[in-house]
């Protein structure tokens, strides 16, 4: 079996639920264009989401068909994306990660100040920050796409755009050009790609 790359995205219920879902959908959509087998879905236990509760969204990428596609959680994420930075203070977002993983946080704070909140940062090979709120300042709040409904408000108009840009740069898993075909806010995505701050650890 080909390796399955697991990416877990952490967001906050309702106020960033849509942005979190956009991130996984954009990323998976772009990876599909590159011939990957992909999956993007919400953690079912986190639904129904409540305002400010932490919610998880998942992406899986593989060169072959994904064997465990009906397992509804990423047990061993190799990339973790935190859309609301405070989450790292209250939850072990690296749970299940093997040594050498990647963490991307949406914040304008310094990488070192964030590391103080991550007691198990030794698992990380790379940590990166992107100030998505500073770049676009837009958060789409909409519940139409939650619980598997039809998302009526477009994809990647808000902070999801710079975040996926940063993800492309940091992980190298997908091409920026393909992202540009998916996101609404292309320039936001480009800025995320350009402005992401990366630090290699250990």
């Amino acid at each position: 079996m080909a390796k399955v790359h697991e990416i877990t995205v952490w967001a906050r219920g309702v106020i960033m639920d849509k942005e979190g879902r956009d991130v996984i959908n954009i990323f998976a959509e772009a990876a599909k264009m590159e011939g990957k087998h992909v999956q993007a879905f919400d953690n079912y236990e986190d639904l129904p989401d409540r305002v400010l509760v932490t919610v998880r969204k998942y992406v899986r990428l593989s060169d072959e068909e994904i064997e465990h596609k009906y397992v509804y959680g990423n047990d061993q994420p190799e990339v973790v994306v935190v859309i609301e930075a405070t989450i790292v203070k209250g939850i072990d977002v690296l749970l299940g990660m093997k040594k050498g993983g990647t963490l991307i946080i949406n914040t304008n704070r310094s990488i070192d100040s964030m590391l103080k909140f991550i007691p198990n940062a030794n698992l990380l090979a790379t940590i990166a920050t992107v100030d998505a709120d500073g770049i676009t300042g837009v958060r789409t709040i909409d519940f139409s796409g939650s619980e598997g409904g039809v998302d009526t408000s477009g994809i990647g108009k808000g902070i999801a755009a710079p975040i996926v840009g940063a993800m492309a740069k940091v992980t190298g898993m997908i091409k920026k050009e393909n992202l540009a075909k998916v996101v609404s806010d292309v320039s936001g995505m480009e800025r995320g790609y350009k402005e992401v701050k990366i630090k290699k650890l250990g």
Partner: protein, 117 residues
């Protein structure tokens, strides 16, 4: 009978997975300690005791009962473990005694959990 028929075996639910009889549980007292929600918070309300008039509006406005009036000390006490950071109290405070401060400005004060709810 010619031979013994199969039985039903036994069903042994491991202790840690057992569900209470009839899904009946004891009611909590004062707080539900199994459900700490401090990690929901992005900002926390910070109080200025000079401005606070002990009007109790914050106490009457919190869905999570996170403001307690300590009568002996004549002070409002904030309950860190359960405050979700909704900021209703800040919006309702008539004397501007409360300010929203990012949780990341504080080194601690959040109960760190393995898994979300």
């Amino acid at each position: 009978m010619a031979k013994e028929l199969p039985g039903y075996g036994t069903i042994n639910v491991p202790k840690e997975r057992q569900v209470p009889f009839g899904a009946v549980t004891k009611a909590p007292v004062c707080t539900q300690q199994l459900f700490i929600t401090s990690n929901w918070r992005v900002v926390r309300p910070v109080k200025d005791d000079e401005k606070c008039t002990r009007c109790l509006i914050c106490y009457m406005s919190c869905p999570d009962a996170c403001w307690i009036f300590k009568e002996e000390e004549d002070v409002m006490e904030w309950v860190s473990d359960f405050c979700k950071g909704c900021q209703i109290c800040i919006n309702e405070c008539p004397s501007d005694a409360l300010t929203a401060v990012p949780e990341l400005d504080f080194p601690d004060g959040v109960v760190r959990l393995d898994k979300p709810f």
